[in-house]
Amino acid sequence: MSPDLTSKDGTAHISREILRANRNRKILHHSLSIAMPFFLLLLWEILSRQGWIDTRFFSMPSQIAVAFWKLIENGQLLKDVTASLTRVLVGFAIGGIPGIIIGILMGQSSVIRSLLNPIVAAIYPIPKLAILPLLLYIFGLGEASKYAVIAIGVFFILVVNTMTGAMGVPAIFTEVGKEYGASRLTIFRTIVLPSALPVIFAGIKLAWGTAFLLIVAAEFVGAKSGIGYLIWNSWQVFSIEQMYVGLIVIAFLGFITLLILDGLEAKLLPWRKHV
């Protein structure tokens, strides 16, 4: 929201020029970004038709497209995507919300931090996949074990990031709050939270990516649906094209959802780079 920079005199058309140049540059960059994958696909197709690429390992894009279409038609793809997304979202909610709350508490209170930090620091570096067998043992092969592995993975990332954000609030800002007579709760709501949000958001994005990694791995073993299951099952039945479909879909899902998160961040926190 900048005030209008154009003026009545001759500078108006110069401003328009600058804006147009800026827009053109953006369009060019976007087109390049979009064109590049298609170019690579085309190259891949040509090289495999020429026999320069081993199609036993790298199926031809055209054949992957056929497999893609089949999976869409028989509804299996939609079912798998829905299953994976549901698991990620449920697990994210179960682990993420307490993660952010505990992170804020740890950032705000040195007592809580002293109490919990050693535990968090000890568990944080454990690859969460390493506890998948234990979770399967506890929660069985059903949905619960998938929720659990995502919840745990997401939880620790968000605790650590949120705590960092809540601790990094510059003292001057909380002092302004005090000087203007704000209560502790008001200081928290109007100063600590907004000041920590950019770091919390970075944690959410990191955790989201991790959740995708975890769900695919978790679905490899003991699942009868989901993108991970699709990929693993394709391997077992030697359907390489179908496996590529799974890979593409998971990449696409991760990409799109991160794009949405970025957009949301830009919309909600336009000042995020300037705290």
Binding site: M1, P3, F173, E175, V176, K178, E179, G181, T190, L269
Partner: protein, 287 residues
Amino acid sequence: MSSTIRGHTESSLDVPALESEDNAAKITISNVGKVFVSDNKLTTALTKTNLIVRDGEFLVIVGPSGCGKTTLLRILAGLETPSFGEVKIAASNSDRPLHSMVFQERSIFPWMRVIDNVAYGLRVRGVNRRVALERANEFIAKVGLTKFAQAYPHELSGGMKQRVSIARAFANDPEVLLMDEPFASLDEQTKLLMQEELLHIWDENKKTVVYVTHSLQEAVLLGDRVIVLSAHPGRIKAEVTVNFPRPRYHQLTTTPEFYALTSHLWELLKDEVVTANQLDGLYTNQE
């Protein structure tokens, strides 16, 4: 009702007596000192300071860098407790906040638009949103930022940000304004305009102001009284009364009387600045 900030109270209180009723003490600083502890080292920022600021007085504090000016203001604002002595600020009107500070460093919130930054104190006090924004807009206009009311701070220049924090303090309508080098980061021309605006606003509602500056011209132009602090650790070295009639305008700065007073202040301050910056060698060489 009055707010008292107390440290370890020392025995002998040599507080100057009040002269008359209409010169009632607004702020009473008795034997206040501050010692900081960091890395097991003690730093004395301020030694036994006694000072009375009268109701409606514009008091200016000058002194070399590091002499404890900010520390004193922070004690007045209640952000720092004095290590000894006590501070009393008499409150006359319970609806108005007692004090608002314009901080020396960047202190406006990057996550709020200019208008919400300026309205912050009012909103925290529970003033109705519409009234608060109206009032905020009034002061945004006074500091010349109307076009930027809806902008975020990162869209403003450094000087404009400082103007926002000045507007925020004024809009809050406190009984005492604490201003820590508010114009230091402004360009020379904007500073002149803001000084006149400050004089104007002050003439309108005669708040008690405690104003810290490094500029002796500014001190004499704005103040009723100028307190000179000695080099670190700070103590009151001298006190100069400024009797120029009000309302004052910039023309005052061109008069010989004005010049005489600022040079007198400089004479008082010179040794302290030399000590503060450890420039003794340089100084004697030049003599």
